[in-house]
Symmetry: C2
Subunit: 471 residues, 2 copies
Amino acid sequence: MIFLPPKFYAVAAVFLFICSHTTCNLGARTPNVVIIFADDMGYGDMSSNGHPTIRTPHLDRIAYEGQKWSNFYSAASVCTPSRAGLLTGRYPIRNGMCSAVHQVLFPESTGGLPNSEITIADLLSSAGYSTAMVGKWHLGHLPEFLPTKHGFDEWFGIPYSNDMDLDRPTVTTLNGGKLGLWHTGKHWDEPMSEYWRVPLMQGDQIIKRSPDQSLLTKMYTKRSVDFITNNADKPFFLYLAHSMPHVPLFRSENFVGTSTAGIYGDVIEEIDWSVGQIIQTLESLEISEHTLVVFTSDNGPWLQFRTQGGSAGLLRGGKGTTWEGGMREPAIFWWPQSIEPKIVHGIGSTLDLMATICSLANIDLPAKIEDSVDLSNTLLLGQDSPRNEMIYYRHQTIEAIRLGAYKGHFDREASDRGEIKLKAIYNIDMDPAEAFNLWERYPDIAVALRSRYLEHRRSIIPVVDQLARRK
Amino acid sequence: MIFLPPKFYAVAAVFLFICSHTTCNLGARTPNVVIIFADDMGYGDMSSNGHPTIRTPHLDRIAYEGQKWSNFYSAASVCTPSRAGLLTGRYPIRNGMCSAVHQVLFPESTGGLPNSEITIADLLSSAGYSTAMVGKWHLGHLPEFLPTKHGFDEWFGIPYSNDMDLDRPTVTTLNGGKLGLWHTGKHWDEPMSEYWRVPLMQGDQIIKRSPDQSLLTKMYTKRSVDFITNNADKPFFLYLAHSMPHVPLFRSENFVGTSTAGIYGDVIEEIDWSVGQIIQTLESLEISEHTLVVFTSDNGPWLQFRTQGGSAGLLRGGKGTTWEGGMREPAIFWWPQSIEPKIVHGIGSTLDLMATICSLANIDLPAKIEDSVDLSNTLLLGQDSPRNEMIYYRHQTIEAIRLGAYKGHFDREASDRGEIKLKAIYNIDMDPAEAFNLWERYPDIAVALRSRYLEHRRSIIPVVDQLARRK
């Protein structure tokens, strides 16, 4: 007799329950997976996280019916490394997707996610899933790095951020930055898609340069709905990575002025509409009870864009920082009849989607995926999250480590000299805004943080810096 | 034939609907009213407003089933004037309940809410309601000012704040303040009830000095449940004003350490439990469909108390300020079958409870209650809120005015000299954190704000400063 771990029985019981309550004919059918990933949306940008003027009824609904995670982290505070972490379940330092020199990949970059890396799509594809990516990739735009080389049967979207390939001279804006062509002196000026020559692609073909960005969310949604509809009778994986609400902000005609929170609010409301379309499609096809839907964001709000950036709510900082506002994200897991409705305060990360999905799909997790924690017992059984830590990188430097309730911030310059210098400890369960540095009170925590820092660094094997590769 | 306003038919239709769906035998029975009022709880202190570690499942539930208002204001940013505003529907400047010299009433005060004032309890009592107050009063502790002189059939609670009647020398605390005896050098020291000689009262009798404050929330809840149970077959009004989470923080044994957010989290979780007890009582008595439940707080979080103060979420400032964090409150309206479930972004205020309750109870609103706006069409029909402004007083000075999306802050010193000097304008729908002063862009708004300031001030008739009266 083989002894299986208790989780096996738990998961099996859930599948039996599903099969006995639905029209499922496939025995222990593994769930479909839909990951919806917003770009630069902040922790505070949904109504169910307290935003007072942005309406997000669809997100609120799935948050209430499913699990809302309030301590859920992206793998990095900027785009490229965050996305690499989500798809591979590995801190980007391990695969060259965070850099000493650049924050993200740019149109002139020649690097990308190495083909030696295993993605969620690779594993699900091998397990017989239909796989599609819709939306922003940003893990390398040369042919050898595209989504179709990383386990996706199909891809429709843009290869990097929607503010790249800028075709006009930059100007200094109200925001004081040079990115903001869409703020050219008039207030809340509308951006024009033709300012950016970002390509819209399908597979490895460019369909159009300077596509009408106001249609991106709508087009992505239609593609996603079509993919789900066409695959309703077999297992599928959809990775829908919205280009919005990354600046420049665009929304379709239907959402112009729907929000009193301004264009940023309009854009979030269109993403919320899109979530509603996905949910409605799953329900009308009667496959919602076979489908895990995950909603989260790649990093915190881009606060420099003022009212065109989002809100991290009560959290400190935003995109590009290792304050909580930079990496703690809105996060919802929805799977009717399977997920225990709950607000989860335990720690989770986009890094964990890999191990969790493998567990739900009965796929062995490859050994090299060392940073991904299986959260399925929390999702299905309401158990405490097994993740107890988070490591916050900026570029290639560890700026902070969270162990349980405690988060230590390290001095960046000291780290770059090879020293470990702790400069703050916050109890972020009691003080989520990181306002009260209590480092002198916790000598034991300080020891544990240093020790974890060293242990983690010892596990890192140097690799090629993919973001430093240029033409 | 008499033509009645459309609302009459709408409200009548709702009552008919209720009566046809329940065991209601009283024809157009007016609803019971339960107002639950927290003390110093912040906008961000419930999970459904984004708090990441405080669990508030009962508040989240009624927020989701009822209306959560995200632009709902207390009448002032400190205790006494806020409570006067709630009960009378009038800005406290009109009845002497805000002062040039003191923020609130103290044990040595001899003033209180004048008996010429009309309270919600007075009107509901005259209309045949049983009326009870449970909890903190703070509108005058001399016999002539007590709740039983202001329309309440009964009262059980404390006459002012739980940090008053301090019986020990104050010490400088970790917080740097002198109020914080409960922080006496050891970290997160537990406070002791006997440090404060605050009286626990019933009617006009003192039952006990220095009551065990850890039992306050529990005792208030039991009294409230008993009152509801004893009045289940007739109309009733319950005003439950918790003493918590005002510092010093206390919670019963059942809630020690329930929250990872520390003692403040424990305290909020006990208040949430208390809300659950009220809801459960209404449901088990089958009167929830005859009962309007309102939950809100008297002012923003007391930020000076650091991790023992709450969170205003994404809002700026806290208690004692006219930033949004000082006066914008968590606010929920719940009345199954009658209230349209919705998140309401329109403006509302505790000042409006008077006119709204009068409307629902078919009571004519007395003419002098000029600051109270009837919100019943928003509650029952989902219409836009008819309130379009808010005036933010601190002491007797107008520090800010909100007109629609725009909030102007006035220079306090200039106001005290009789000048009107606008120093900032924020679009708080787009910028709820009041981060981006756009005053130079809105000359028309500036004119409107000054004009509203003058018009409002002209409506103020000088009265006795009740908070300045001392032995």
